[in-house]
Subunit: 347 residues, 4 copies
């Protein structure tokens, strides 16, 4: 057994940070040496999280600036955008897996437009690898800084990238409807996230203006070879975890639904975490809850020439912390599935 | 005070039938004289329904064929399709408000194609009035047989009909994503409807094949003046009541989102149950829970020339039993809002 | 038709205040003339509440001190404790129905002990009528100041008072387990009330220390004729509305479960809102959701000499705003059921 | 690495069976060689379960009588009571871990009284080990037939056994209120388990008559040294997984809450799966979701001389399949925690 890789998790008092810790606890090659949470510094994880009651051995939460970085091999950034880049740009020791939005967009101007302020560390944008694991494997072993994709982009891109790459759909005519569980909006105190406001209700939000739009456009456009815009409408649904994307696409050059199915089959046949379902089986978030798995499938639309490509992930795992661990594994030459072996939890 | 109108409810052991009874109990001009439920005949409503515990005065459930129709002025049909038309076609006394799918489609061939069998009473199709209340007022006072729209068609048509009528959108390029609560699939014993299967999960269903499609196409096509097809993807969400439709539309002839907003404003300004929300406010099912209200709004899409028209209803009220009562009121010359005055229930 | 009674609602931005407004909107004898919400003054109800979108005619929210009290006949206080008494004690015009805890306890010392501070208006305690409607009818027509009971006390006292009055149970040996929906803890921003913290989980809270304990003890003790203590353990459950109390009691003097059942039958036979269920039928919150109804029943326990008395209410209606309206009706000589006719909402 | 132990799972189409398979998939020392489900024989697990989509390597479901038992080392019985004993009593090869109720009660007469029929294999009752893991370790290595406790008994006994053993509480005066998630009542088609019946509601069930009562009484009585009865009131709550028991106890011989806390501390200090929480922290089902962990704590009651002992488990894991794996590990000399390392899933 080689020595474990020593990690720090910044922002361990948020849902993403906590799920990172949950997965790291079950990872055979990780030692958690530091956990930060500025507003809750001094508390134990058990005080901050109900499901950490049985892990007294975890390091106590500290302020990020109080971490001793010597001997830390990797840092997972689970901080809000802007704060994340501001802090991570000061580190030169550990390899960085950032789960914030800060290093996802390659263009600092686009970042400023969508995130409401100058980028805190534009010099690092060129170095950052966009860590959609299945499409970034070649670059991860050498990467120092990896930007984990947003949850919606992960689900959409896994569903569509193989189809764009194969020239089977018109990447500029994509219309996505998405459903997300409430954990996706974090543990912050917002009236809109209270149980009584969310339960027994559904509604769309961020209409025409969700920050994951430019990220999806960047990646689809890069494969399509031209700038493009997508239609993207997210909805909040009363579940804790899970994200479902229903993508209406227009097929190109006489492609058929069978062609799309075949392309996904070919692309994902050997993937450990991305699964094309049998024909006719609709993806559901309950297929992947608590796991790093993604499921996708394609269906004919009633309008000729169109198809529906549908995908589901757990927004906190494949959409966030699980993919971060998957990237970490690839960066450090570990088995890609290390620490990610849990089967989905159902019911 | 005039004498109350005497009604029968067929299928009072289903969610739709029960909600009809709930509303009828609060209606000042209704006397409930017969309730049928073949499989539960002999039981009281209190035995069949938890929320009927305090209504011992309700008639005991009987088999439909045991109803004495003399003196019954109106019948609400809450039976499954095919069974509904088979029974209702034998009645010649009461006026009929049918909540099943049997009299919604004007073409018996389309019915046979989508509902898997010959129509039980094709001779009545010509007589039936399609009862989307806000668009059927003129015909309801004289109608003997009213077909209440499906829940999804109600939500979609309220959102889109004024825009098609005004020539502002291309009715043949409509793409609808819809979310529905579980009550929409009835009280039948299906594994897919068990709590543990539904809670903490979302998924699409009936992909490319939902039976409400031809109904929406029929009504949109009639206003557009040509046959058309729509894209329609329903999703099951873990709520009891509520339906939300997100319609991506292509605007015609240089129309703008402001034009669409104005058309909806004009059309619904005086409607008691359909409400255009202020600019920027997204419809939510929690706005209408338990009530006969519908809310709609329109938003710019990120793709130029497109817009999002979004609507929400309670699938059991405006999408079913409430609209049936509204139609009943219009048929019998009562105040349109009689018995439908409840404010929405939130939280 | 007599002129409507003009009311003000203080604290209309909380769940209790909003449910008061919901019920008042359907009340034939009420005119809402003022609504206060200090932190949201200036906004409309539609801006503050999703389900008020269709009520543009409601008065805009104002600060409580900006209300013109001339011509206001009654005020409903939906403010937090202490703030409520501080404000209400300054009014001398309208009759007062207070939904806070401030006037429930007759002893200012007990109040100080449990609510953490001196009572703001101890001089009014003697005047206040404890408004458990079914047990306060005689005093309400003349009352100027009515203290509506807490939600848990309402459910427990409706279940137990007739048994204590009849000498059938030992009031000093009562053990209550209670379950409450999340709306009971208000719309304030607390991490514990976030959807992701509450959904898919249950837990007890305020163990041995809930503020409704002394209130229950006061009322049980008054009927029993001696001071007493109760065991009371509330649990939070992931529902919006509803409260269920399971009371384990020790029967006195050879009383049987049949005796208890008979006593409840006798006491509640003519009550419009309290219903003894048939033998063997367990109360459920779904029997009363959204309504002012309460259901109770009694069952044999497996331990000889003990029984289980179980009750369910909607915590926001019979447990709060509905009972307030019921008290208002009794104070002003209206029909006791005015504005409270809605059947429960299920599913 | 030693050869894996080859197992069969009977009843893999139920929630308990599926959770057994989920855990077995992550167990380093298990090979799943047979899965039975009579009504769904011939189907794959992926066809029967959404969360098994990514496990095509699992054996196809067969009828139990079609299993080839040669070479199978252990069988997990996840069948309904009576069916379980009827089948398991015919096997003489594999060691048996039964999750049904059939071998929990030592007395065949008690079984007949509570389960409505003669015991199918009374001759095996003497041999069966009652597998509450933490209290059965000594007997498990030699056991051929282990009866895994019911979910409620697991939670109650973990909370109370150390206190009874230490003579700190009166085992004959125990009153338990319990809350259970819906998965506890299985995947069978019952109206009571439909989403729309369960969501937004809570209610007690099986009042004074739950089948887990005699099981708890048997085990408490054995430690107390005398026959006894308990009060036990289960409630259904709208969650998928989780069970919480709130036990009101009377302390013996001047014992204090601190004594109880100390006894639990002493007993569970070294247990991998049972955790006494810090003083004042209330157990919650969200602390253990998806994991084999149990949490307990003790609180003073407001009535002198009484205490509240509260515990929480995941009913499908520690309350069923997880404890079965734990017992399996102890029977076969594996690490007790093998395959059970997952941290709880929250949110």
């Amino acid at each position: 057994m080689t020595a474990p890789i020593r990690i720090a998790v910044l922002g361990a008092s948020g849902y993403t940070g906590a799920d990172l810790v949950r997965l790291a606890l079950g990872h055979p090659g990780i030692e958690i040496v530091a956990l930060s949470a500025n507003a809750k510094a001094g508390q134990t994880m058990a005080e901050v999280w109900p499901h950490m009651a049985m892990y007294p051995q975890l390091p106590r939460l500290v302020r990020a600036e109080d971490i001793d970085w010597s001997g830390i091999d990797a840092v997972f950034g689970c901080l809000p955008h802007a704060a994340s880049a501001a802090l991570l740009s000061t580190l030169d020791g550990p390899r960085i897996i950032d789960l914030s939005a800060d290093f996802r967009l390659r263009d600092a101007g686009t970042y400023a437009e969508w995130y409401g302020g100058e980028h805190p560390a534009p010099a690092l944008l060129g170095e950052a690898v966009y860590g959609l694991s299945e499409f970034a494997r070649g670059r991860l072993p050498e990467a120092r800084l990896v930007a984990c994709p947003g949850c919606y982009p992960t689900a959409v891109l896994l569903a569509l990238l193989p189809l764009v790459e194969a020239g089977l759909i018109d990447a500029g005519r994509v219309s996505v409807n998405a459903l997300s569980g409430v954990s996706g909006s974090g543990r912050g105190l917002k009236e809109a996230n209270l149980f009584a406001e969310v339960a027994e209700a559904v509604h769309p939000y961020a209409l025409g203006a969700h920050r994951h739009m430019p990220e999806i456009e960047q990646e689809l456009g890069a494969r399509a070879g031209h700038d493009l815009r997508i239609s993207f409408t997210p909805h909040l649904v009363p579940i804790n975890r899970g994200e479902l994307v229903t993508c209406a696409v227009e097929m190109s050059g006489g492609a058929t639904v069978a062609d799309l199915h075949a392309a996904l089959q070919l692309r994902y046949a050997d993937e450990p975490f991305v699964h094309l379902l049998p024909k006719g089986v609709a993806p559901s978030t309950r297929m992947v809850r608590g796991s790093n798995h993604a499921v996708v499938n394609v269906f004919p639309d009633r309008i000729t020439g169109r198809a529906l490509v549908i995908g589901a992930i757990d927004n906190l795992v494949k959409g966030s912390s699980g993919q971060a661990i998957q990237n970490f594994n690839l960066m450090f030459g570990l088995a890609e599935t290390a620490g990610l072996g849990q089967a989905p939890l159902f019911p």
